[in-house]
């Protein structure tokens, strides 16, 4: 097994593959995806799409595929993993990258957070009005709808990178805990409070992803705790009683959507979401393996 590790998409990337696999090509693909899909660079293709006043905008195949993956995640979760909440997440204080910025202590933030309440999809479901047209090579959306692929891009990139490495043998593409593997691999699930491994998931040709409120968490201007997983209904950080959710799925992109939805849905519905393919749910007082 050979390994290549590098920073990208605001996290650490690890690529493991058989000797002879095109690790550098996979790295190049991930870096191109980051350049196209980031919302922190006004020159990225995603930012230009969001700023374009036209209803239908030409888009590269990579952007079209990434948007399609995000829409599939929204569909699979009934709109809980909603890629159209860019304005709300900026208003919540996540206007620029959190890399290098101080993080709120999780226990203190939880103590100051409102009582747990499950999140809900927005009834308007703006994501249903976003269309990807591969024949015309365009993306269409109503004026004012801005896309945020931060919740889906890492899983999508893991799937694409692993597909590039798979013809050479067993491989894994790990983007900060969102993984796609080919062959059989053990993946350790880490406790969000202690960092200790609590469970081992054995994957065979599939994806696993973890979403949670433990990493991208900060104090708002009024001293209120905030994080990046928003309730689509209210547009505010969702405090549901779930700290992190780890989801298994056939692809990392779907696993990422399911994991995010499980956090937003709260302990009861979150467990039902993870029951589809399996996973691990950490709540504020215990954890449940599904």
């Amino acid at each position: 097994v050979i390994e290549l590790a590098f920073p990208a998409m605001g996290t650490r990337v690890r690529l493991l593959a058989a000797p002879g696999a095109p690790l550098l090509a996979a790295q190049g693909l991930i870096e191109e995806l980051e350049a196209r899909l980031t919302r922190f660079d006004p020159g990225s293709e995603l930012c230009r799409l969001n700023a374009d006043p036209r209803e239908e905008v030409p888009a590269s195949p990579l952007l079209r595929e990434a948007v399609r993956a995000a829409l599939a995640g929204a569909h699979a979760t009934g709109g809980l993993a909603d890629p159209t909440l860019l304005g709300a997440v900026v208003r919540a204080g996540y206007a620029r990258s959190l890399v290098g910025r101080p993080r709120a202590a999780l226990r203190e933030a939880l103590a100051a957070a409102p009582g747990p309440r499950p999140a809900s999809p927005h009834p308007a479901a703006a994501w249903r009005h976003v269309y990807v047209d591969d024949v015309a090579g365009t993306i269409a959306r109503p004026p004012g709808i801005a896309l945020d692929l931060g919740g889906s891009a890492k899983g999508f990139a893991a799937d694409r990178a692993a597909a590039l490495l798979a013809p050479y043998g067993p491989c894994a593409a790990d983007l900060g805990g969102d993984l796609c593997v080919h062959g059989e691999h053990d993946v350790l699930v880490l406790d969000p409070l202690t960092g200790d491994s609590t469970d081992t998931l054995t994957l065979h040709n599939g994806g696993v992803a973890t979403s949670g409120i433990d990493r991208r968490i900060w104090w708002g201007p009024k001293g209120e705790p905030a994080h990046h997983l928003l309730d689509p209904l209210t547009g505010r950080p969702a405090w549901t009683g779930v700290l992190t959710a780890t989801a298994l799925a056939p692809t990392a992109a779907l696993a990422e959507a399911l994991a995010k939805a499980a956090v937003l849905a709260g302990p009861e519905r979150g467990r039902a979401i993870l029951d589809r393919h399996g996973g691990v749910l950490f709540t504020t007082d215990t954890f449940v393996a599904a």
């Binding site: 097994v1 996290t11 993984l179 691999h185 350790l188 880490l190 491994s197 990493r215």
Partner: protein, 84 residues
Amino acid sequence: MTTRRPSPGWVFGGSLGAFFATFAALAFGAADDAPVAAKPRPVVVRRVITTVVVHNARPVRRVPVSRDVSPPAPTPAPLTTQSS
């Protein structure tokens, strides 16, 4: 005034007696000292503090050791999943 000189026997005998008396005193005195145990001496431990001054030395260039066989590839760290 008449001076009587002691006879040589008395002088010799007196000297001999004084010799034996001194000899006996010395012999018994040494015998009395022998059984007395020596007083323990206090042990003084002195700690020697050595101050080492480290100068900023230039890094030593390590010459790679040639190997006949390449080292085994390191085992990758386990895969983990956590929110990021």
